[in-house]
Symmetry: C2
Subunit: 337 residues, 2 copies
């Protein structure tokens, strides 16, 4: 049983904490907050020890009646490994502290690959993180691309990928972000950073991506075009995706014709926070035209990379040499289909 | 001076009426409505004679105090040509009446190409509609594709086009349509009908399209990838698009980073209804990677094909043999940049 600490108990951190707590070979020794907000209160209610990132704010937590167990440095002393789920760019700054403390750490996709030196996906390059000190779980969008492109590449080889990433503008609870009625090329330059990011875990893949923001909060949506290396039947692709872990085929004709309906399905599954860890691929969209595979998929940005963070813990601490075994354990504990 | 009647005075019809009225070689002899609504009242205020599509509703117009000049059949008798801007699918039904009355007619992109037999774009196939009895101005999205792909094809040849069409879910005044928080593959099958539609006016082009709806009302947005026939410099592409009529390059860096900001620019232009007839191409997005051109563009769905309807009148009535001359006249009268 390894001891895991979560630095940053926000959108990702709280999900990783619950996912880790559900594993048989891991336990949570603490989570950290910068502010005494409702999430801090909920963490305590769930039985997680609470640590504070900014020692000067101890009084604020006291005044709010929220009990703390110490600072982040104290939390690190209790742990075998840190999952850093702090906001974009902060993780890279924390790396110095982790290095001084001699603790292994996992970072999120908001950090730059260059700052961490190694990136991680459970399916494409698990082995490279075995025993490493630091690794970075790629972003929700890149994780989504890995999940479906890897089995396709394994099946019939990929010559070139083009993908248009239609991104949700904000998470459901983010009330200060926009747009509320516009389409925003983001970045306005092409290609976007998503292609290069995929290459940090799926080496040598030929991909160009275009990205934009649209006024929705539920999921990202990807439009993917794959020039295939070898001829293959569309039924073989469907079969391959059907048996791929953390991927699910959905049918528009069965009332799952949009991201909203897919999230409604996730609510029916009764999981914590109605999360959907699987990448949903629209079955009707799968088509091969002139040797090129087309498909559309949806990504629950708050949740899809959470199982990968759990697998990354096993890789860094060498709890499992085989990625398939870790994936199986994670899936079982989290109830992944 | 030719006499033009507009059957259907809605989103497109009212714009075409004003555009026709602005031309020196055309006049409006009547517009039609099915209901005595605010648009009917506005038509009279503008000086257009009002005709009714459903004779049984005469009393409704009388009760509303809205003066009518007769039925659509009466209107046809006054006209040299009809622009049919009735809702999707009605135009094809009206064709029988136009045939019986022996009047030429122009249809909108909502009708099927097969039902009309001929499609029209001012830049790609003007000549084919010269003297024809009926033609169909292709949809706002297809018009948007024509406007930028034609000059690129002329400049350096096109091998293959892939385009992801991110469509506005509803027009600004449509209060009963959704989604308000979802991304909807539409259609969920790939490729979408936009590629085949482009082929009805840009013969032989190799194109596959993917389409989706997003919760915005302002503009469509296209993500276009063009494999080029011959090597070309990106500066040549920019120059070509810059001098192309009804296309404008916009800079995200100059505060035009989204569809909302582009429509704000249109409001500053002071045109009727703040319409933007030009296709806006984001200059920053233009890039050539491995012989493939990438770019993003925005389409004002209510307005962009309106000048094409005016040109189609000149083609059918053989008022201008040369498409460039018609385009020039239309542009000047409408104040197109």
């Amino acid at each position: 049983m390894v001891s895991v600490a979560i630095n940053g108990y926000g959108t990702i951190g709280k999900r990783v904490a619950d996912a880790v707590a559900a594993q048989k070979d891991m336990k949570i020794v603490g989570v950290s907050k910068t502010r005494p907000d409702f999430e801090a209160r909920m963490a305590l209610k769930k039985g997680y020890d609470l640590y504070i990132s900014i020692p000067e704010r101890e009084k604020l937590f006291q005044e709010a009646g929220i009990e703390i167990s110490g600072t982040v440095e104290d939390m690190i002393d209790e742990a075998d490994i840190i999952v850093d789920a702090t906001p974009e760019g902060i993780g890279a700054k924390n790396l110095k502290m982790y290095r001084e403390k001699g603790i292994k750490a996992i970072f999120q996709g908001g950090e730059k690959h260059e700052d961490i030196g190694l990136s991680f996906n459970s399916f494409t390059n698990y082995d490279d993180s075995l025993g490493a000190d630091y690794t970075r779980v790629v972003s929700c969008n890149t994780t989504g691309l890995c999940r479906t492109l890897k089995p396709i590449d394994d099946l019939c080889g990929i010559k070139k990928v083009r993908a248009v990433m239609v991104r949700r503008a904000a998470d459901p609870a983010q009330v200060k972000k926009g747009p509320i009625n516009a389409i925003v090329p983001n970045p306005p330059t092409v290609p976007s950073h998503h292609g290069p990011d995929l290459k940090t875990v799926m080496y040598g893949i030929n991909i160009n991506t275009v990205a934009l923001l649209v006024p929705t909060t539920l999921m990202h949506q990807h439009n993917i075009m794959v020039e295939l290396e070898n001829p293959v039947d569309i039924e073989e692709i469907k079969e391959e995706l059907n048996k791929t872990s953390r991927v699910m085929l959905v049918k528009a004709s069965e009332g799952l014709a949009s991201t909203a309906e897919i999230m409604e399905y996730a609510r029916e599954l009764g999981r914590p926070r109605n999360d959907l860890y699987e990448i949903a691929v629209w079955e009707e969209s799968l088509n091969i035209v002139d040797g090129e595979l087309y498909y559309m998929q949806a990504v629950h940005q708050e949740a899809d990379a959470v199982p990968e963070s759990v697998d990354a813990i096993r890789a860094l601490l060498e709890l499992e040499e085989d990625n398939k075994k870790s994936i199986e354990k994670t899936n079982k504990a989290m109830g992944i289909l």
